[in-house]
Symmetry: C2
């Protein structure tokens, strides 16, 4: 059974997180949600909370806090967007190091929306990439910027926003589990006739 770590922080976009998590679980991927605290919010007096407060107020109980020593053995690493959450994830050195290590080991890395900023902060080499339009200017000089809904560049898969999270997650399923599993996961979700993926 493939496995995936899906990162979450305060301010993560809850639709992007949840659609990725749920779609991968439906495909049989063992998913773990790993919380990355905002360094500014962690003090001796304020312990790390047991849930993430997402961008529109949804509170998600996570499985564990990110521990770089313990979390190198998943088959995929996924970084959702949400402006504040993606800022925390992309600026966290351990996240940047994990992204580089996963790609160097030929493992799958997915970034969506403002989560794609992590490609910049992890200093990944120039390659095709997309993101939410709101962070395009931060990325277009260092990457071959695309406006496709999902961009596959080797083992780096990037996407744009909540409206592209289903094709993003289904693309991850295709890569991790194959096209037949993708079809089995996609059909009972009942997408409207004419959906372009």
């Amino acid at each position: 059974m493939p496995s995936a770590a899906i990162l979450i922080a305060d301010g993560t976009e809850e639709m992007e997180f949840t659609i990725a998590f749920d779609t991968l679980v439906r495909a049989g991927v063992a998913c773990r949600s790993l919380f990355v605290p905002d360094p500014a919010s962690v003090t001796a007096d304020a312990p790390v909370p047991l849930y993430a407060t997402c961008s529109r107020g949804l509170r998600v109980v996570y499985d564990a806090t990110l521990d770089i020593e313990a979390h190198t053995d998943f088959d995929a690493l996924i970084i959702p967007g949400g402006a504040k959450g993606a800022e925390t994830l992309s600026k966290t050195l351990t996240v940047q190091r994990l992204v580089r290590e996963y790609l160097e080991e030929g493992k799958l890395v997915g970034m969506i929306c403002a989560g794609s900023l992590t490609a910049l902060t992890a200093q990944l080499p120039r390659q095709p990439l997309t993101s939410h339009p709101s962070v395009k200017t931060a990325l277009e000089n260092d990457f071959d910027y695309s406006e496709d809904p999902v961009v596959i560049s080797g083992k780096l898969v990037t996407s744009r926003g909540p409206g592209t999270t289903f094709p993003f997650a289904l693309t991850l399923v295709s890569i991790l589990c194959g096209e037949q599993t993708r079809a089995e996961v996609q059909a009972p979700m009942v997408f409207p006739t004419g959906t372009p993926f």
Copy 2:
């Protein structure tokens, strides 16, 4: 500011819950998540947990447990799917009573996926309706069953599954907040070109 109560139970489909919640918050709707316990799981020794465990394992901290006296004053009531969650919601008498009261008062009621079973258990009159295909046979004799992605019947809006939750939620935004707000919410979600809603 319009308000909406979004019901949640153990086994609720987390994508359907989260997309509805997040999309309505983006539209400026004041959303509250209200937990409905499975009667079988509530005993004196096992207090109601502080979060719902959704259909694919996501744990969502809810705002309050459903209290029929306190929760009659929202502008909309939304019932997500997920087989086990929808069974709990649809079989709960207070949910059935709230659905009837909301519709009698001309307020909006949304049901998606197996959540549409609540139209049957609340004994709503025959009218156009859709649901997840897996519960079609339970509904098609008592309603004018449709396979459209979103069905509007007066103030009852029904839909099919995770793949139709975006057009379902955006339809609720259109009704509660108007078409201009819907357009302002939909654009930054970055749906793929050719998306049929």
